[in-house]
Amino acid sequence: MEKDRMISELVLLVGSENVLSSAMHFKLYEYDASLIRSQPDCIVLPTSTEQVSKVVKFAHDNKIYVIARGAGTNLSGGSVPIRGGIAIVMTRMNQILEMDIENQRVIVQPGVVTLDLKNLLAKHGYLYQPDPASEKVTTIGGNFGENAGGPHCLKYGVTSNHVLGAEVVLSDGQVVQMGSKALDNPGYDLLGVLGASEGTLAIVTKAILRIMPKAEAVKTMLCIYNSIEDGGNTVTAIIGEGIIPATLEMMDNLTIKAVEEAYHVGFPTDAAAILIIELDGLKDGMERLTERILAICREHNVREIRVAKDQAERDMIWAGRKGAFGAVGRLRPNYLVNDGTVPRTRLPETLAKVVEIGKKYKLPIANVFHAGDGNLHPLILFDERDKDELERVHAAATEIMKLCAEMGGTISGEHGIGLEKLHGMSLIFSPKDIAAMKKVKEAFDPLNLLNPGKLLPETEKAA
């Protein structure tokens, strides 16, 4: 369909106040937090399920691509409209529809900002557990579409473990319910496969989330190391000892320095690594567990341990961790972050190899990682304008993906495949595995109109 006609038809459907179509707007919605850029043909900001349904039906009837988008903080090109089409931006659907405390559920529209919800729940003494580092700006819809993680996922699971129901718009505009406030609804777990589907299967217009009472006690420890291996081995030893803390987060020297320069949270800039360990739960026995953990740290040559004395000290530590990407981002014009994940016991050797890869391609790599999950975040620093450097960045990123696959891990732990990691899918899946996934795509979206070209490589054919 001709672009001008598409835009005027969409204006008729949702009103001109909810349609953007200037060159400047196209520029604003051409990117996410990856390096990929491509403009939509039209931008719609619906305010209701009915509007989403109308737009999707219109797109379906006219065979126009549809790309759903939240805050655009995703890291692998997932929300970039690489083949044009209509970008449906969910940020105006940002109402918390129901706080059902007695049933421990909340119902939200997809554009609700994650931290806003958490702050509101905190007033009632409840928690929504997933805590992606970008929670200050990310939306619940985006978190679910990417199946976002975060430090506390070690103990509490990722976003899809906390989304129990949804209202979704199917690729033909039909509105259906999946799951509910109740657990164990009969039928295929369609909601389960929707998590991390990157907007390729359906568009969520309401989500029912699990909330839980705040933990009675929290203990946060900052452990400082002179060697990154010692930090990694501490992680393996803690889990091996049968202790599963709420978080086990690590960062390397380059990251520590960047964080300290940006936020002044008191991290020692000469440390090779810091490990943030947090325990939560009942207060009983927590002191004893803490002592056991600290003994393990000492066995692994910890240089210094700081136990947060109060909420303010805890917040300071977490401000440093959650601001790490932003801080590292100040070091060079660009960074590319991988999120390959390995079995946690193989983290130290994987890390050593990541350092080698950095040396081989002459690229600085800062490392922040969810150590307890085996989830790496090597941030490769560079300048996009230097074409030679850019090529080396992509080569290094691909090599890190391969490394994670070889270690028995996977190419993406929480940022998604999007477009950026499509070429890595064959490292971990056979053509038959991918053919099986394609059947799911075809069942949900027979015309391939929802976020085309993402997540599943096009060329793979079943043997």
């Binding site: 991390a196 009675e216 009942l282 026995g285 004893r288 994940t341 946690r344 996977t410 929480e414 799911v440």
Partner: protein
């Protein structure tokens, strides 16, 4: 398939003569809703299983996968049944990564055997699933039917535990999804899709799961009540506290007495974790129970503690239940719905026992054989139960049901709007209708 002998020789070609059962007497044990299969096959490897499904697909045969058969009375009446496919010979632990706390195990191994192995290795770990039929239930059957038990209150269910799985699709494709990392967003989360899919999309052959370290200490606390409202109030107070029991079951007096316990209503808590926390919770919840008007409290430890929970899980066996109904609904309504169910069952003159996961909004109704003599009032009662659950955001599934009753109710409960996608998915993955035709939601 024109000829039963032709079928048998084709199956024997794939799995060997000794692994095909055709004797009509022996096959009776494998009947589904009164339909006897033409053959039972026991593949010894995933490759054999793949060949069997590819053959069934090309010959348009209907295949029912089976572990130890504890769930065979659940599901719709099959549209067709040619071959029962046993997973019992595909039963090894393929990888136990002790320091990584992960396990890969094949479908035919029983959960009991898995737990025994895990408890005895290193510092000891466990797979935190406790579905019914403790001794018999196989890993494949548990995952395919999304089995769970009382301890899901703390440990959640398979969708929260599994890291990956392997399956064979109806076209014979051997596929692997997920992996062994605790985080993974590479490709669609096919693992979740396969959990609870009732062998109607593919046959699960192996799973990879997280494990947890064995808890340092455990105990059971039971508080009995005369009044259901007060029992419900205790469960709600615990639910909204920061206390962390691993199970919180609310049952009626009939269920309690069959478990050898007293009281008109009984709330049972399982407490696991570090010793200090177990002790404190026993004391604190005991106090809360007293305050709510509990008339008696009892603590079990050690062997007694373990056996009690096994008997709760396996209640269907000991009570010789003929009809088992699982209702789900919003968590705050546990006691209200139990009260309504009790009243309606009494009015209908149907003998029911009730046990519910009070922290999860799940209530199971057990009806013994003599309760089923009167089919019409039972059909009405199930209709009422279902409507009540649906009104409270849930549904009702018949977990065990005689064939004649299946014809009169929807064993998968009230309709859902997302069946449209389920149907398209089934048609894409299994266009011939090889796997469990007619047994799953929406007659899929």
């Amino acid at each position: 398939m024109s000829n039963v002998n032709q079928l048998a020789s084709a199956l024997k070609e794939i799995v060997g003569e000794a692994n095909v059962i055709q004797d009509p007497d022996r096959m009776k044990a494998y009947a589904v809703d009164g339909m006897t299969p033409k053959a039972v096959v026991n593949p010894g490897s995933v490759v054999e299983l793949s060949k069997l499904l590819a053959y069934a697909n090309s010959e348009k045969l209907a295949v029912v996968p089976r572990g130890n058969g504890t769930k065979m009375a659940q599901g719709g009446i099959p549209r067709k049944l040619d071959v029962v496919l046993s997973l019992l010979r595909i039963n090894r632990i393929t990888e136990h990564d002790v320091p990584n706390l992960s396990l890969s195990v094949e479908a035919g191994m029983t959960l009991a055997a898995v737990q025994e192995k895990l408890a005895g290795t290193g510092k000891g770990s466990f797979l935190p699933l406790d579905p019914p039929y403790t001794d018999k239930a196989t890993i494949g059957g548990i995952i395919a039917t999304n089995g769970s038990g009382p301890r899901r209150y703390l440990y959640n269910t398979a969708r929260d535990l599994l890291l990956g799985l392997k399956a064979v699709f109806p076209n014979g494709d051997i596929v692997a999804f997920g992996g062994k990392t605790v985080k993974n967003v590479s490709g669609y989360d096919m693992t979740k899709l396969m959990i609870g899919s009732w062998g109607a999309l593919g046959v699960i052959t192996e799973i990879t799961t997280k494990l947890l370290p064995l808890p340092e200490a455990s105990a059971t606390l039971m508080v009995s009540f005369e009044d259901l409202g007060k029992a419900g109030s205790l469960t709600r107070k615990v639910l909204h506290s920061s206390l962390l029991p691993s199970a919180m079951e609310l049952m009626d007096g009939k269920a309690a007495s069959q478990l050898g316990e007293e009281g008109k209503y009984l709330v049972a808590f399982s407490l696991e974790g570090v010793g200090e926390a177990v002790e404190r919770q026993v004391a604190e919840i005991g106090e809360m129970g007293k305050k709510e008007g509990g008339i008696d409290a009892k603590v079990l430890k050690g062997r007694e503690d373990r056996i009690f929970w096994m008997r709760v899980r396996d209640f269907a066996l000991a009570s010789k239940s003929h009809v088992i109904l699982k209702s789900n609904f919003v968590i705050s309504k546990q006691a209200d719905i139990l009260g309504n169910y009790e009243n309606w069952a009494q009015a209908a003159g149907i003998d029911c026992a009730f046990i519910g996961h009070a922290g999860n909004g799940i209530l199971t109704t057990y009806i013994p054989e003599n309760g089923v003599a009167k089919t019409d009032p039972l059909v009405d009662l199930i209709g009422k139960f279902t409507a009540e659950a649906v009104k409270n955001d849930g549904n009702l599934v018949a977990e065990s049901c005689p064939t004649e009753l299946k014809a009169k109710i929807d064993v998968w409960g009230g309709p859902r709007t997302d069946v449209v996608v389920m149907r398209r998915l089934k048609e894409k993955v299994d266009p011939v209708g090889v796997l469990n035709p007619g047994r799953f939601v929406g007659g899929l």
